[in-house]
């Protein structure tokens, strides 16, 4: 019963191709929007999880300098404001798990005939703990390396591949700013961060070495940034407030004067970025539901026209033995098939656009089988819901009236 009816529904759709195609348009747009919505929404979710898990949790950073009300960063007149001493004082605060003063910048690495430009981070051992970053080959440097400014380096996977190729980098000597550095370890892979930057494209060296040999700071002991990790998410607000109060006191800022440092909660930043994306996907969801509604009404409309046009055909079918449920099934199937065809095209359109968004903006999109499943379920529901009334109208025709219809 089902198979010959499928063939007939296909024929009926093909009998009026332009009309069928126009009818499907609403479904195509609706399903396309659903697919994009899910791809972006799930992408945002994934990106946040990814970022938080690779960045480390409960982190915030303190930056030297201040932001005016207009958002313009202005360095404090007396030069750099954050010091290693500040970092040591923060470490004493209650609820703080790790503190790492850092100084970073972009530099050229040279090994043999290879060279590679990358981000160089000068920091202290707690940095690796704060970012839950482990060394997969070799070993990390310790506090003694920082104290005696040894020229040792940990390199990211991308650096290892580009500078050393197939060689084992551990124990090799490369140059940063003419200074020889011995590679003592390779870092585990972290992949891209939320902005699409490759986190494995980096070199980590002791802070003091960085300041002396690589960046050449005029004030030894001053740093651009301090990374702070709280013991828990609950401790975050307390630690942030504590750090702010401590630094204002240490920097002898009078009441009412602005901070000469800036604090940024990294986890919250990732969350808020994801929130923006989520809002966008809710907007898409609204477009999707409206398109699906309009698409459904379009299907209902065209099916009603089709039932009227084919009244005589329905009469003939009834005269040779079609039951009401046969006629109902035939028209319902036709509506669902239009809906499915629209869904399939919408799925392809949505996929293409989602991939396009990813290619152009670098935004993370996740394309899952569940999205396709949801799209098909939606299409079937729309087809059955909006096809029901016309199909029932067809099934309830009086055979003799239908046969008389011209």
């Amino acid at each position: 019963m089902m198979k010959p009816m499928l063939g007939e529904a296909w024929l009926a759709m093909g009998a009026n191709r332009l009309r069928t195609a126009l009818t499907m348009l609403g479904m195509v747009i609706g399903v396309g929007a659903v697919v994009i919505m899910l791809a972006i929404g799930q992408g945002a979710q994934y990106a946040v999880q990814q970022t938080i898990s690779t960045m480390g949790s409960n982190l915030f950073i303190v930056l030297a300098g201040s932001f005016t009300a207009a958002g313009v960063r202005s360095g404090s007149a007396g030069g750099p404001t954050l010091t290693v001493g500040d970092a040591e004082a923060i470490a004493e605060l209650d609820g703080v798990a790790n503190v790492a003063p850092t100084h970073q910048g972009s530099r050229q690495l040279v090994y043999g005939s290879q060279n590679w430009s990358t981000q160089v981070i000068g920091t202290t051992p707690p940095y690796l703990d704060a970012r839950a970053w482990n060394v997969v080959n070799g070993a990390a440097f310790g506090d003694s390396d920082v104290r005696s400014s040894t020229r040792v380096a940990l390199i990211g996977k991308t650096v290892a591949e580009n500078l050393f190729g197939d060689e084992d980098p551990v124990g090799k000597t490369m140059r940063i700013q003419q200074n020889p550095f011995m590679v003592i370890g390779v870092l585990g892979s972290k992949g891209q961060n939320l902005d699409g930057r490759d986190q494995d494209d980096t070199v980590i060296i002791p802070l003091s070495t960085a300041q002396r040999k690589v960046f050449g700071t005029p004030f030894l002991g001053s740093v651009r940034m301090i990374m702070v990790q709280a013991e828990s998410a609950e401790a975050m607000p307390r630690v942030e407030a504590g750090v702010e109060a401590l630094l204002r006191q240490r920097h002898r800022l009078r009441e009412g004067s602005p901070n000469d440092f800036f604090m940024r909660n990294l986890s919250a930043a990732a969350e808020s970025e994801a929130e923006t994306t989520r809002t966008m996907s809710i907007l898409l969801g609204a477009i999707a539901s409206i398109s699906l509604l309009v698409g459904g009404i379009g299907i209902m409309n065209i099916m009603l026209v089709s039932v009227t046009e084919r009244t005589r055909e329905i009469g003939i079918r009834m005269a040779i033995g079609a039951r009401q449920k046969d006629i109902l099934a035939q028209f319902l199937l036709e509506a669902v098939m239009i809906s499915f065809a629209g869904c399939l095209l919408g799925l392809l359109l949505g996929l293409a656009i989602a991939l396009g968004i990813n290619a152009v903006t670098g935004m993370v999109v996740v394309i899952s089988g569940s999205a396709a499943l949801i799209a098909f379920a939606v299409a079937a529901t729309v087809g059955i819901f909006f096809g029901w009334y016309p199909a029932r109208k067809a099934a309830r025709l009086d055979p003799i009236e239908a046969l008389r219809y011209q």
């Binding site: 019963m1 198979k3 010959p4 009816m5 024929l11 009926a12 009998a15 005589r312 055909e313 003939i316 079918r317 009834m318 005269a319 040779i320 033995g321 079609a322 039951r323 009401q324 449920k325 046969d326 055979p399 003799i400 046969l403």
Partner: protein
């Protein structure tokens, strides 16, 4: 006398019109035995089509009883009526009523689809019947590729495909020229020879002369019922 395949008692049908109820059929009694070949005659508007539609279970009577193959049709629901139309009888229309988008073979096989018969059997049966009505070579053609007389033969093949006990035909030659009409009537004659009961409506005496029995309608009533004198 074997049991009647059709028996109607006091069958009446009134249509609601602007001028009130119009009685198109006023209490008709008739019994038709298996194997009979009946022509229904009568002037236009005398109720012949109304009567045929009731016999074909396409319409429901206002009053009276109708037994088809021993079953009381008045007490049946829609599905049971559809089943009778599908299996017990075959209806042939004046205007052929083939489905235009389907091949002749699919047209002939369509009643089998509603009977739940599998594809291979449907194909074989449709082919066999098309061959029987002399149109085997057109199986894959669309209805608009063949003449009116050929279309009517396809319609008859469709009416026969589910092996019905009787064929009801309302002016089957009404749209055909006299030569083609003769061919159709020859086909009906053969079918009757195979034992199928046939009831057909016609305006033309020489068409009616093919039947074995002639029933005359006037103003919604039967006014004459006799055997054909010189059956060909």
């Amino acid at each position: 006398m074997s049991e009647a395949v059709i028996r109607v008692v006091g069958l009446g049908k009134s249509y609601a019109t602007a001028a009130g109820l119009f009685p198109a059929l006023k209490g008709v009694d008739l019994a038709i035995r298996p194997g009979e070949y009946i022509a229904i005659m009568g002037p236009s508007g005398s109720g012949k089509s109304t009567f045929m539609n009731l016999l074909g279970c396409l319409d429901t009577p206002t009053i009276g009883d109708y037994w088809l193959a021993g079953e009381n049709v008045a007490q049946m629901d829609n599905d049971a009526l559809a089943r009778l139309r599908n299996r017990t009888l075959g209806f042939v229309f004046q205007g052929f009523n083939l489905l235009p988008r389907m091949s002749l073979q699919d047209n002939v096989a369509l009643p089998l689809v509603y009977a739940g018969v599998d594809k291979e059997t449907r194909r074989a049966a449709a082919r066999e019947l098309l061959a029987k009505v002399g149109l085997g070579q057109y199986a894959e053609s669309l209805p608009n590729r063949i003449s009116g007389g050929q279309q009517q033969r396809v319609a008859i093949a469709r009416a026969l495909v589910n092996k019905p006990r009787l064929i009801l035909a309302d002016e089957p030659t009404g749209n055909l020229d006299s030569h083609t009409s003769e061919e159709i009537m020859r086909l009906f004659g053969e079918l009757n020879g195979e034992g199928i009961t046939i009831v057909l409506v016609t305006h033309e005496p020489d068409i009616a002369a093919h039947a074995k029995r002639q029933v005359r309608f006037l103003d919604g009533q039967i006014v004459g019922d006799h055997l054909t004198e010189h059956a060909p």
